[in-house]
Symmetry: C2
Subunit: 210 residues, 2 copies
Amino acid sequence: MSNLNKKSPTDKPSRIQVRNRQKILDAALDVFSRYGYRGSTVAQIAERAEMSKANLLYYYKSKNDIYVKVLENTLSAWLAPLISLEADGDPFEQIWAYTQTKLQLSIDKPEASRLFANEILQGAPMIKEFLHTDLKQLVDEKCAVIQHWIDTGRIAAVCPLNLLFLIWAATQHYADFSAQAEILSNDNNTLHSNAEHTLKTIILNGLTPR
Amino acid sequence: MSNLNKKSPTDKPSRIQVRNRQKILDAALDVFSRYGYRGSTVAQIAERAEMSKANLLYYYKSKNDIYVKVLENTLSAWLAPLISLEADGDPFEQIWAYTQTKLQLSIDKPEASRLFANEILQGAPMIKEFLHTDLKQLVDEKCAVIQHWIDTGRIAAVCPLNLLFLIWAATQHYADFSAQAEILSNDNNTLHSNAEHTLKTIILNGLTPR
DNA sequence: ATTATCTATAGATCTATAGATAATGC
DNA sequence: ATTATCTATAGATCTATAGATAATGC
């Protein structure tokens, strides 16, 4: 039998299977996050996963399957930080904690950010549904939290959605445009610590009511 | 003769040639800015330019040639606003004028921004040289201007390069991530006017010395 | 005469599968 | 016995060209 999917779901996957599936997903994230879905090839992914194309397609039956799986795995990690933005506690602490987490993620694990950047640049063909439902709901909730902070005079009056966009853009920039940042900065480590200070200054001062 | 490039450079291009070359570049910008170099096909560009693939390749001899030409044409438009950032005049006015211009460009002509986003996401293979030379020099100059404003106490002490990144990221977000913004906002026009207000509040307040 | 367009297709690349062979685990 | 890997290749897609035909401008 050459099709894994026909196996009964109670079968435990073998060690080799677990290891190879993970290797494939890791390799696929690297490749897809750089070149997007259409710009990536199964051969590139196979090479990076150190196996033949045919063998790779023994574990995942199509390029599209791999892409969807990688997107699914990455989506939750991408959303997690926003979930912890809570109405309780100091707005400035909450907003800065969120910003800092996103910044650190973008610097340390740029692949997730790039994967979405590619997907959304191309019109979000695969995750449109997700954006309309799950993300939209979460964002609406968090915008209400921010709006509440504004209404109670705790932060300056700005559009909550645009504030989120600003935070996303400013932090993910260090992942999505790292090729440019590396060229324009003389030292990447300095750049990143300065980034933290600069974002903190501008966002927190910027949101101070006056 | 089937190769235009063998023509003497003093030959005046025909009306049809001028029109078709322009149609191709317009179509190519649309396609490349969405799908990147590898993700785009000559067939897509030809269809959008309303001519056959063969005819398109009569005007530009390869996909790569078209891509390079489109990038070249777009680079100058992309840089122009930064050039006008000048040491004279009020720092806040200068910075806001720059930010506003970039925001408006991102909203009105998102293709240029998306083209670069795609190119840089993929590691800037074609424009690495340009980034190292022309852009680096321009950015260094403008960072010196910003640093001067900081040293004379006219704006808050932030890292000039990171400030530029913040402005680029925040404004180009509306081009690069428009697919997401359209889904998450209830009304695009409101979103964009709120964007202007929100960016103005945060960036200008954020840079106010205290 | 020159320029522009069309038809047909070569050759490269890419996804996916079939079928044989090797490795692994009871 | 089952699972994993390899070789070979079909069939789709894509870039680019050759060569014939049509349209245009002096």
